[in-house]
Subunit: 319 residues, 2 copies
């Protein structure tokens, strides 16, 4: 039997539950380009029903163990879930080491769970374009909950985590002393805080630290105040509380209009990103040829500076 | 006395050793825009003499302690050095915690050392444009060695680390089992490997792992084979060996033509990045106005998809 490569056929198969077809479509999304665009156009009209939960935090905070425990909790409630792991430090993305460090074996054969690691080599727009496209695809094939796990360091990674409907930031006791994460960035995007590894000492101090930081943040009058949940992911303790906090934020976001506002804002952001990316493709066309090679040489020889060279390359371009 | 804000005056002052002026110029670079471009045009003709050393690795690998120990070693050799810390997990970038975790106090009053943390909020091109601009400025004011420390996770951060003349990748014993870094990405950019915290067990296994990974990498015939150096940064052990490895790579890169090749490649990359960034600014101009708001609304309502909307916004743009 020939291997199906046509996006339309694969999409139809994925909609009926074919996981192999879904995996292939996600590979197209990762690689970007024309095929990714076709997948996008197929998925778009059928999307809009999934709710996304971002999960981020410093490396070592226990994000993957927590994700795994949360999957377990959702399955006990008969909720289906898809997980995109775009954290280079995640065991989910480690291929060979899958299941070594977390109990992913529990979920590996469960048809109600779909886990996929994201690599974006080749996608010109990088994670910031590939992630919403992958989420949209999972949404379109009928997943109602999509979790996106990213590491809480890195310019792009923190941005991606902040683009979920509800963003969960995972910290550990003693976080106040630690410098292993982009704290200011994480404070800004958190809808729910988790103090994971709560069997270690320092939980109360960490809670106080977070509360103080929240006090200092200038929240709008009717704004959501991120709750702080303590968990011990390795034994699933507190994971039910975490889920309740996610549901509470969802209810608030839906009733307050925040969800609609955020999605509208994100749509604008993505559209701008797509426009930028198209222009970037044009830049690749511009940045080639004899004059380009010449200008690059002049920049290296310091007979011209890069800004002047860029001005010249762009002079003929009307935009 | 009025505060000097003119880039030309500040640049002249920085060239005579005024650290306050240099700090202000670096703030311009961080913020991007017209002032950053002026700084760039001033620095460009005077640059090209500095040698850059990138230092990266997983959070917690001991990059900052190693950087600090390396500074100490360089100072003992009467070598001046500038350090850009663009690692959100670095104590250097922690402001209040400066000196708490590493012995930066040793260097704080040394005029032969300049340390600066980089933030890039506001710079549209982000770290990938701000970092080479900052390096060029330090180069232009006469620093012969510039070290760039970044965390080895994050799409942009690993790219930035790989753009040094010599890139040092820091790992720890037991790295083989750990999943706290973008391993494949780090393998690709390493010119020198450091196994730091070499007083822990597993150094030999880690060395073997790295050697095996290098075997599997398809090196060109006359290519540099990254040496593997063991260090205990907290007591400065092996730091002299690390420095010797950096010097050996520099000698190879200079004599083989690799350095010239890399710099030429980087110049092309930067030029392309500048062109892209200019186009991104144009995108911001395009992505505004009545039709834009309308299209964003249609995307949200799913009456049109983002790619079709982007096509329409770009239809009038020739490039």
């Amino acid at each position: 039997m020939p291997r199906v490569t046509d996006p339309d056929e694969l999409f139809a198969a994925a909609r009926t539950g074919d996981r192999g077809a879904l995996a292939r479509l996600l590979s197209y999304v990762e690689r970007g380009g024309e095929q990714a665009r076709r997948v996008g156009r197929l998925a778009y009209p059928l999307s809009g029903n999934a709710y996304t939960v971002g999960l981020t935090g410093a490396p070592g905070a226990g994000k993957s163990t927590l994700t795994s425990a949360l999957i377990g909790h959702l399955r006990s409630l008969a909720i289906e879930v898809a997980v995109l792991a775009i954290d280079p430090s995640s065991p989910f993305t480690g291929g060979a080491i899958l299941g070594d460090r977390v109990r992913m074996q529990d979920h590996a054969t469960d048809p109600g769970v779909f886990i996929r690691s994201m690599a974006t080599r080749g996608h010109l727009g990088g994670l910031s374009l590939a992630t919403p496209e992958a989420v949209r695809l999972l949404d379109a094939i009928g997943r109602e909950w999509v979790m996106v796990e990213t590491v809480g360091v890195g310019q792009v990674e923190v941005e991606v985590a902040g683009k979920a409907d509800t963003t969960v930031v995972v910290v550990n006791p003693g976080w106040g002393d630690s410098v292993q994460a982009n704290k200011a960035g994480l404070m800004e995007i958190a809808d729910v805080f988790v103090i994971n590894k709560a069997d270690r000492k320092g939980v109360d101090e960490t809670r106080r630290d977070l509360e103080q930081m929240l006090e200092l943040t200038d929240l709008p009058h009717d704004a959501w105040r991120p709750p702080i949940v303590a968990t011990i992911a390795s034994s699933s303790q507190g994971v039910d509380d975490l889920w309740d906090a996610v549901l509470a934020h969802r209810a608030h976001a839906e009733s307050s209009g925040q969800l609609a506002e955020r999605r509208s804002f994100r749509a604008g952001e993505e559209l701008r990103e797509i426009v930028t990316n198209r222009l970037r493709e044009r830049a690749r066309t511009i940045c080639t040829g004899e004059r380009w090679d010449q200008l690059t040489g002049e920049v290296v020889d310091q007979t011209t500076d890069p800004w002047t060279a860029a001005d010249e390359m762009l002079a003929g371009v009307d935009a």
